[in-house]
Subunit: 207 residues, 2 copies
Amino acid sequence: MPKVGMEPIRRQQLIKATMAAIDEVGLAEATVMRIARHAGVSAGIISHYFGGKDGLLEATMRQILTDLSHAVAARRHALEDDSPRAHIGAIIEGNFDRTQVTDPAAKTWLAFWASSMHKPALQRLQNVNDRRLYANLCHQFKRVMPRADARNAARGLAAMIDGLWLRGALTPDGLDAPEARHLAHTYLDQLLIHYGCQQFASTAETL
Amino acid sequence: MPKVGMEPIRRQQLIKATMAAIDEVGLAEATVMRIARHAGVSAGIISHYFGGKDGLLEATMRQILTDLSHAVAARRHALEDDSPRAHIGAIIEGNFDRTQVTDPAAKTWLAFWASSMHKPALQRLQNVNDRRLYANLCHQFKRVMPRADARNAARGLAAMIDGLWLRGALTPDGLDAPEARHLAHTYLDQLLIHYGCQQFASTAETL
DNA sequence: ATTTTTTTATTGAACGTTCAATCAATAAAG
DNA sequence: CTTTATTGATTGAACGTTCAATAAAAAAAT
């Protein structure tokens, strides 16, 4: 099979296989052999393309984060309405995007979440992502409420999103995305209700 | 040192040492030797008292869950007010109890959360706990609102609690318990505000 | 067109390390 | 002297990494 230009293909293959393995048996038992078998290649190839297992894990987490980033950015870019509510709504929708709520992605994310507490490389990635979510939310909330209130609203909504997401990942049947989105949008409505924002029927379409 | 009646002492010692080790290096590198060193005993003793490493981990998670259970139960028992708001407030307070928000407990919990997705023994414990929180919240909400609304409120508040808790565990500086409690209580106020509940200054005392 | 050479991709067995579990030996307490 | 508690060296299995060998494709030469 060896032809030129395999690198991007193999990297993608192995990242996907990593998520599949973590979905199957968890991060603790996702050995290089198991990951390689999922990708249909040998174990040695992982060190060749990622320098080692740690490199593959870091690349996998980076992939998930850029997927999330793109899911949010695409929705915000497609808005015809520039209101804070619309932007925050898009952020919510992006966080419950297809690529995120799939079982392999969800379980992999949670595994990395726990792992990031003790691995500096993962911790940095995780912090960047956290700050971006908070900063984006905060910026939009500040357009309609005082700074102190905006900070609390951003913290609350960020916690709500992560909490819904976490509980979804732990549920045996997987995350119920429509319901999670509905709860998040309802919470957003409640946060904005005191500040005279125009109230869309933003939750009707999600159920 | 060997004298009779060591079992309960050693068990407690080793459970505490397990949390300390997980706090220090994470579950993946919390080896039996490291845990034993934390407790000041030899590695072999773990198999003697817990049948093996898995037994110790399960006992540790069980300990955390019973601590949480007691923290909530104690606060609900001490209520002089029987209102739904008071009960739910006590549940919130219990979830942000001292024993829960300590760094070792928080990191251990998150580690088990991730681990419980693939270890049936831990998954059962986690499910029981989840269901209890949801059922308790749901029961109280039903006293003041229709069943469908109560279910959503319970799901939302449970997600909020877990989300605040999760974000706190990942923050380098640890969880800011007073702020988390304030956000949770504010959310509770918003959930109840449409149902004519008497509105306490329930958040003033927490800041 | 065919053959030879070079480059690139991949394998899989071997190596060294690490870990959990075991158990015979030991030491203190009753 | 018996019982209970504890140790720590040992064992065997599992893991990630390495590297010489291999095979296919591409390039060069005939």
